[in-house]
Amino acid sequence: MNTQTATAQQADPQRKSHLPEGDRRRRPKASGRAGMPLARRLIQPAFILVAGLIMALVLIAAQGYEPFSTLGAGLDYALGNPASIARTLAWGLPLFVASIGVCLAYRSGMFNIGAEGQIYAGAMAAALAGAYIGPMLSGLHLLLCLLFAAVVGGLIAAGLGWLRAAWGVDEVLSTLLSNYIIMLFCAYLATSPLRDPARQSGTTKEVFDTAMFGEIMPRTQLTSALFVVIVLCAATWWLSERSVTGYRWRMTGESPDFAAASGISVKKARIASMATSGALCGIGGALLVTASQGRFWTEIGTGIGWDAVLIALISRARPVPAIIWVSVYCIMRSAARGIEQVSTVPSELSLVLISGIIIAAAARAGIFSQFTALKQRFAHVKGH
């Protein structure tokens, strides 16, 4: 932040443009692409992490354990050897895909908080495609499962995007509420018409083996889905940050009036970015089935859709920071589980830590001003 922004008296955060005209033009010739040297950009995230670590140490000490060695044991559990790294990563694979998916929609100004529902829908679609179609060539079967999941997730999100573009139904509301509709509908399917009769609880039939990703490291649950995730992350990054389409979506999100006046179809951009976002969330859900659970059950999502929304907010919808934050998130979860094994500190510690870190990061990322902007949209204030 420079002096001007810090002292600017503007009440409205969106009117950055009216900073003192007097000083703007002759600002030093520093700015590279991001405007700040890399080292300075890393200071604040590093600070947040250090603050999180200190919080962890205090909590562990409060339980009467030696903080450093306990924390060390936890980190060792998460990152100590290749197998533990693989285990840490395996849990996070669906979250990577869902997070960049939410980022993508957010980049075009669509706040897709329906990720959880789209994950459930994707998981259901993949579980059905895996259990009722096949068995067939494994690669083909997996492709089919992911494709089904992508189409279902994409159609749901596109529909919600269309409601916004065509009828002005605010997507914050529609995506939020769609979660409950979809999750409860999936629960109905899994407990009633599509229930696996061989089991007591609400699950669907187990998928064929050809619809499961193979482990690439024994006893770590890390499967070849890793490569799918890497490809999807890279492709999404290109789409969002480098491609012509990404340019249109970003302009639609950041300056919708500019986009409209320069001939970008704002409606199309919103619907298309929502569709892609929903497709990615759907694939995230499919990975829950095909890379780990092997079937759909009523609690399969465990809230990773909400985690994805939070990560998209913290990383300000940029794919690379989102990927970094998902990694951090995975390590924290895994370390908390490790701490639980060597002490009586419950693994819920990770939830406390994650919440603390999110609050710290939220302050940095200006999430509160983003929410203010959202509120303004409800209030329909135009102009000043």
């Binding site: 002096t3 000083d23 600002r27 012509v244």
Partner: protein
């Protein structure tokens, strides 16, 4: 009431040797400024000359690196705006600092509410606000909701706020930017009255006509330094322009251009729209623009000019009527299709529509090129080397002052932002370009540059629709002038044969004639 050397009243305010730097950037360097009781002192200069910085120092928002501030002969230190307010300095910002949902009374007293124990004493507040409101001739119910007032009244409310706080020195930062010519005149009468009552006023502007209409003395800043402080009666416009720009060859007269050709490029007939949120509805508008012709659209803002611009480019849909470009009917086409057929558009709200304010210069420049990608090309690299090089070329061709093509648009001055818009739109080689308020908030040097580019475009047969609230601009550029009033075209004049006064009459609807088809 001007500074009178014989009587030698002592200045109420003296700024001496003020220097302010932001990192390596020198915003003010050894600036001197003084103000006498009952005086209106204009502070003029181009964007970036340091006017705003100087006033922010005076209002306690910035601390100077060197120099002194003396109020009534005593040196003071202003650490925060509250200090300045306590010393009787009030500032009316360019962008109003009013809470739209509050009542007039609540806004006036906000921050210094009378009352005790955390309770708002409405009676005392009304009592205290009455004086300042009467001084400004503001006959308003104090319980009116502020957001429902028009812009000119809101501005008076800002001044009332300042007076309520007991200001003796009033700073007005570009106060006329949001006003119509009539409202501007009213404001000037008001300011002169306030000065006659003993208030001292600092009037910041870059509109010379206004400065000469209202100021007793004029101080010119250029590149952060004081160039001159002179009584207004000893100066003329060209001398002030020369001082502001450091050049003596700035053209303030009519722009020389080729004569228009015969073939009609843009033809609008029977165009009507629904009521706009902040503008009148169009009511069967008819006009034609020929190749190489500039048609000026004059009018007080809010009489349908924004509606016309948006309907022409296609961001708003008409209810009835037809828009034709070189024989092709555009009425039902989307913005991108209209642009592909050769229509260009410089929007009036630069920050919202003209540039991606948080995007890069290149992202702003390349919108035209990127619009043309179709189908799978949408997945191609948006900014390949060739396009980046083109962006750099445009920056030098249009003399855009920026640290580079990847600089964020909001770091540029208004004039340079507008050059981005003009570069993008003119490089499409349009058949017709719609210019809405093309030089609002742009400094003189850049205005001249932009006018030359418009003249070049007409030389290659581009038809120009020039929508402007600035009559000087219209008279300097146009061949014909159309006047809009309440969504209708009420008059047509030839630019070289009409006058500001005549157009002003048309603008108020006083002399409504039949429309020219």
């Amino acid at each position: 009431m001007s500074s009178n050397d014989q009587a030698a009243p002592s200045p109420v305010l003296e700024l001496q040797g003020i220097t302010k730097t932001f990192g390596p950037v020198v915003a003010n360097e050894n600036v001197n400024f003084d103000l006498y009781p009952g005086e209106i002192h204009a502070l003029v200069g181009e964007n970036g000359a340091g006017k705003t910085t100087l006033m922010r120092i005076l209002f306690g928002m910035y601390r100077p690196n060197a120099g002194s501030i003396r109020l009534g002969g005593r040196e003071v230190e202003l650490k925060k705006p509250m200090d300045a307010i306590e010393h009787g300095i009030g500032m009316v910002h360019q962008h109003f600092m009013l809470v739209p949902s509050f009542s007039v009374l609540e806004n006036i007293t906000l921050g210094a509410e009378p009352g005790a124990g955390g309770l708002f004493d409405r009676g005392r507040a009304e009592e205290a606000a009455r004086g300042p409101m009467e001084r400004l001739g503001l006959a308003l119910d104090p319980s009116t909701v502020t957001g429902s007032l028009n812009v000119a009244t809101q501005q008076k409310l800002e001044i009332t706020k300042v007076l309520y706080r007991g200001a003796k020195i009033i700073i007005l930062d570009e106060p006329t930017a949001v006003l119509t010519p009539q409202e501007t005149e009213e404001l000037f009468v008001l300011l002169k009255k306030l000065a006659a009552d003993g208030s001292s006023i600092i009037f910041i502007s870059h509109k010379l006509r206004e400065v000469f209409a209202v100021a007793d003395r004029i101080t010119v800043l250029r590149n952060g330094r004081t160039v001159s402080t002179t009584p207004a009666r000893d100066l003329d416009a060209s001398a002030v322009v020369a001082a502001m720009t450091g050049r003596s060859d700035v053209n303030l007269g009519r722009i020389t251009r080729n004569a228009p050709e015969d073939d009609v490029v843009l033809s609008v007939s029977g165009l009507s729209t629904a009521k706009f949120e902040h503008d009148a509805a169009l009511d069967s508008i008819n006009f034609e623009v020929r190749a190489g012709e500039v048609v000026g659209i004059a009018g007080v803002e809010g009489n349908g000019q924004s509606a016309l611009a948006e309907t022409l480019i296609g961001t708003a849909a008409p209810l009835a009527g037809k828009i034709e470009l070189a024989g092709t009917d555009l009425t039902r086409l989307a913005v991108s299709a209209r642009r592909d057929l050769g229509l260009s558009y410089v929007p009036e709200d630069r920050h919202r529509e003209g540039i991606p304010i948080n995007g890069s210069v290149l992202e702003g420049l390349a919108a035209g090129t990127l619009r043309r990608h179709r189908g799978w090309n949408g997945l191609a690299n948006a900014f390949p080397r060739a396009l980046q090089a083109w962006g750099t070329d445009m920056i030098s061709k249009y003399a855009i002052r920026t640290s580079g093509r990847n600089a964020k648009c909001h770091t540029l001055s208004g004039g340079n932002q507008q050059k981005i818009v003009m570069a993008r739109e003119l490089e499409e080689q349009p058949k017709c370009i719609v210019l809405a308020q093309p030089t609002r908030g742009v400094d003189l040097g850049a205005i001249e540059f932009l006018y030359d580019r418009i003249a070049e475009a007409t030389a290659r047969s581009c038809a120009v629709v020039l929508i402007s609230a600035d009559l000087d601009e219209i008279l300097r550029l146009s061949d014909r002038v159309l006047v809009m009033y309440r969504g209708r075209m009420v008059a047509e004049e030839t630019a070289t044969e009409t006058s500001r006064e005549e157009l002003g009459m048309h603008m108020t609807g006083a002399k409504a004639l039949g429309t020219a088809a």
